[in-house]
Symmetry: C2
Subunit: 627 residues, 2 copies
């Protein structure tokens, strides 16, 4: 047994449930992350000035169900009574068991916020406000309204947009020359009556092909005020980017319609988070959007066809800031949207946002970043250089081509655990989303099932189910699960009734295994070729970040076991969460981070796999499962 497998045995692949009060929101998070990070990723604001590094002792929370060991820092931060009452520093509580957590209201206004994968961002938002009390004009002081305002702002030298020039005469006089100047980046976008400095907000969007997430940020405190996610309304045009591109090629109306649907999705989310956060849309002055190249093209009304056919060329890598109205949003009239640049047609703005959030450019370790999905984006950094590529993993992880496949929704099997030598009725343990009757198999369940079948040797390294005779010998308690549906061999994970036919339950077919095998071969070919590019070996990798909505819920141990990621101790395989959304938050909280995102375009070298002569050899070599 390898070191990785030993660690795997100890930690197990289970997900942990966290219920936060008073927000009343529950999340399923990967094991062994900090409660502070888990809260932050999900938009629950916990007080902190050190950014979750265990030094400021401000991230006090109370565990009202479940417990966590008392650390020396906890002992310094709390009285024995408080410790007994469940009080802990959130940054030191690891997610090992289910927890219920009460979060006190914020008491400090942090100068820094923790976002991304443990990244601490010094607050320096592009949105700035200055309250001004101006002297009234006279015949002896006929300075224009604009000059009067600009003269009163000491530390910024913005240029006005047309909107503010239109409003200036009216607002200055109605507000008796007591106004708040609103500056976004270098632009004066408004003057508001009275002192509104306490109110400045922005929305960070993660525009996924499947799911779209919006986070409303209070730019004064750096904390999320409301988070919401919905399915991308473009779904009727297909589940993946290729189907949506195809739609635009076949139907001249489709591009316009897809754009409208993207706009409607973003608009609905904006309404929702503003309502939930008690924020007027006009108080939202900036937007950041991270999406893959196709989603970005579609939302802006750019023809995506060249992204879908060789040689896969983008209109542009970077985008100028666009009026938020160009995304269909009705926020502040001067609000502008920042769109993440893309490294290639299949290494889009979402990946750049993810790389920013995970600090791929600011770490001396050898780190591998994998955003797992239909298209799988991979980046490798060694502290000096960064290379990135895309691997066509196919729809296995979305459940698209899997017989019993489904999305990670209620009824999906997400964890599988096989016990080959016990009682038949306990031999298959499933975790199902929503704790209901299993309806299908989502991506993480698929990986788990295959990893377990390989582990208990009911499947050989080539990915073939063993014969029924061999099964009876190797795993007697599981042997009767091997069956057939039509002409195809299957492994039955769940039978609705003891005498139900295999096809009435949830099963894994031989072809499903092949789909997964192709996907994992494509992905591992991707990172192995990137390692080659930098002259590194698999063992040199010090950390693997699994990103994307799928990657976050993928079991690290199963990912190691099937060879999706390099063979590392499982603790070094980190579920990074929704890194694209985190990146989008970062650029809103800090202009410096936004410059960092643009700088990634220069720093990262894109490696195109599809014209490499050695790709096919490497791919075939990577098909077998490690045993």
């Amino acid at each position: 047994m390898s070191a990785a497998e030993e660690e795997l045995e100890q930690t197990g692949p289970a997900r942990v449930s966290l219920l936060f009060s008073p927000a009343g929101r529950e999340f399923r998070v990967p094991p062994d992350v900090s409660v502070f990070d888990a809260a932050s990723w999900n938009g629950i604001a916990i007080d902190s000035t050190c950014g979750g590094h265990g030094t400021c002792r401000k991230c006090k929370v109370q565990l009202t169900a479940g417990t966590s060991p008392v650390t020396p820092s906890d002992e310094r931060a709390f009285t024995p009574e408080e410790l007994a009452g469940g009080w802990r520093l959130a940054c030191l509580v690891r997610t090992v068991t289910d927890l219920e957590i009460t979060v006190p209201p914020l008491v400090t206004r942090p100068k820094a916020a923790t976002v991304g994968v443990g990244r601490q961002v010094i607050l320096r938002p592009g949105v700035q406000k200055r309250y001004l009390e101006l002297t009234e004009p006279t015949l002896a002081d006929q300075r224009t309204d604009l000059v009067r305002v600009l003269d009163a702002i000491d530390d910024l030298e913005p240029t006005p947009d047309l909107h503010v020039l239109r409003r200036l005469p009216t607002v200055l006089r109605e507000a008796d020359y007591k106004v708040t100047a609103v500056v976004v980046d270098e632009t004066l976008i408004d003057v508001e009556a009275g002192d509104t400095t306490g109110r400045r907000f922005a929305i960070a969007y993660d525009l996924g092909t499947t799911t779209v997430v919006a986070t409303l940020l209070d730019l004064g405190t750096g904390t999320p005020v409301a988070v919401s996610s919905v399915l991308n309304q473009q779904q009727p045009y297909g589940g993946d980017v290729i189907s949506r591109i195809s739609a635009t090629m076949m139907d001249p109306e489709a591009a316009g319609r897809l754009r409208e649907l993207a706009h409607a999705t973003l608009r609905d989310l904006a309404q929702e988070v503003c309502l939930e956060g008690g924020v007027a849309p006009e108080e939202v002055y900036q937007v950041a959007l991270a999406g893959n190249a196709t989603m970005t093209a579609l939302v802006l009304g750019v023809d995506p066809e060249p992204l879908g056919v060789a040689p896969f060329v983008m209109s542009t890598a970077g985008w100028p800031p666009v009026p938020a109205a160009e995304l269909g949003l009705t926020l502040h009239p001067g609000a502008r949207a920042t769109l993440f640049p893309a490294l290639g047609a299949y290494v889009g703005g979402d990946v750049v946002a993810g790389m920013l959030a995970s600090g791929m450019d600011r770490d001396s370790r050898v780190r591998l970043f994998i955003d797992v999905g239909t298209n799988c984006e991979i980046a490798l950094a060694d502290g000096e250089r960064i290379v990135a590529t895309a691997a066509p993993a196919g729809p296995a992880f979305e459940g698209g081509s899997i017989r019993c496949g489904m999305r990670a929704a209620e009824g999906a099997v997400e964890v599988v655990r096989l016990t080959p030598d016990g009682q038949a009725e306990d031999a298959v343990a499933l975790e199902v989303i929503g704790d209901v009757e299993p309806r299908g198999l989502c991506g993480s369940g698929l990986v788990d099932a295959v990893a377990e079948l390989v582990r208990v040797r009911l499947m050989d390294a080539s990915g073939r189910f063993v014969t029924e005779e061999a099964a009876a010998e190797i795993a007697p308690a599981l042997a009767d699960r091997l069956s057939t549906v039509g002409l195809e061999r299957v492994f039955v994970l769940h039978r609705p009734a003891p005498d139900a036919r295999p096809e009435d339950g949830v099963y894994l077919s031989q072809r499903d295994v092949r789909e997964l095998q192709f996907a994992k071969a494509a992905i591992s070919t991707g990172w192995s070729l990137l390692l080659e590019e930098l002259g590194l070996a698999e063992g040199d990798v010090q950390q693997v970040l699994l990103a994307g909505s799928f990657g976050s819920y993928l079991s690290a141990s199963s990912a190691v076991r099937i060879g999706l990621v390099p063979k590392l101790p499982v603790l070094r395989v980190v579920s990074a969460g929704n890194v694209a959304g985190e990146g989008a938050k970062m650029v809103l909280l800090s202009s410096r981070e936004r410059a960092g995102a643009d700088a990634l375009l220069e720093e990262v070298r894109y490696v195109e796999l599809s014209d490499r002569p050695d790709f096919n050899d490497a791919f075939v070599e990577r098909l077998p499962f490690p045993v």
Copy 2:
């Protein structure tokens, strides 16, 4: 008799008519300007590379009716047969008599164009085109569409706007990578299929309170393609800026409606000049607009109220370039409009454009610039310094408060000549616009009439008609023209029939004279205080430029005679034509000139008259007419 009066006797106040073929357009122009300038002001393109300075010998025209002396340059440029056939260099033909002029088609593409008051502008338009033949992308060359285009442009480094990024993928592929890049200032606004470098146009607008003029320019040659003018559709809201500002103060709907009317006016003109010039609206890439501060505020949707009440404060002096759509125009989607900055609430962008066109900042002479109108703008430059102010002249020049006043339209008396000692029937000679029965008196006719009455001593210096007894003695042929309408004394200029009552004809009343007197006193107070500011005397002025649609048609001699301008030899009083429109053309033809317009903001010192304690004294002192 003074020197000025002597010169006046020689030149006379008559207007000259020029008929251009093959354009088939006729213009009435001030005497003693060059045919080249007169053509240029009115949008008739005559070949030239030197810009009308008599050196390039390219501005060959044929006089088919009327004649002009042969100059030494003409002798070098033409054969004796050609000279006999009426061929002349247009820049050397002065407008002394009516002429019919045949203009040959353009043979050279001038590197410079003559615009403004004899200003030669080196062509360097903000709109640039570059034809590119690009290599197609491959898997080995996955440069983005944008980078592919930018790499192929050697001499410019534009940044793209969203519109071009949207179109790039489609256009590049449809045009087989043979495209024309369209750059406006620093922005790449389009790529067009094929080679369109020969087609680039812009529209210069003079947005007057009364009249709006549009000139469609071919930016490749620097020549006007079509010119059109219409009444400002805002007219129903009042004839002057104060009535329009009042309308917005009394009716909350008025501002929006006035904006729409301004947009409709500009839009109609754009359609007209594009149609006439055979230019598609999408081939118009830039717009320049010169208007006074109120017109500019109204067209942009800025509340004009603070411009109308003390202390007369503007929203801003300068404007950022705005999308042409913000002016209601549907031209190229990336077209932007440049608006002239203003020096004060009553020294607007039209005056800055006029100062640019007349080179107020580039001449070592002491020059006085007067834009005559309801609001009269005055600037004085001495080669080093420029000061400017506004004088409230009132509506006399627009005919608004004059009994028989009317605009300079068909039927308006524009020239008056009195012969006091001849036959009664020849004693009053009138020039009437359109050569029809006189219907009223326009501004220039008003000034002429008063100047003539003072000259023949039927009016004394205080502006009072002499008694009937005195009249019979001084000017027997004119004495019966002195009459009364109601209780007011009048001078009858035109009687429709010998026995018609004075009120049935065209007459000048005592109150009309007072109106003019107040106007001229305000204007001359303005320039006399500016002279004082620079420590100069009236005699130091070397040139007076009379600008504005009214100023252009004002007789120089009459203006001198009533004291509207300093007492100078009449040849030094130059009708500058529509200088605002010329300035608008200049900034389109040359980015350097546009920078010059912005620089005027820094160079010119605005002098507010309304809070000067010495204004009223100076005003009273200036009421009498010089005799």
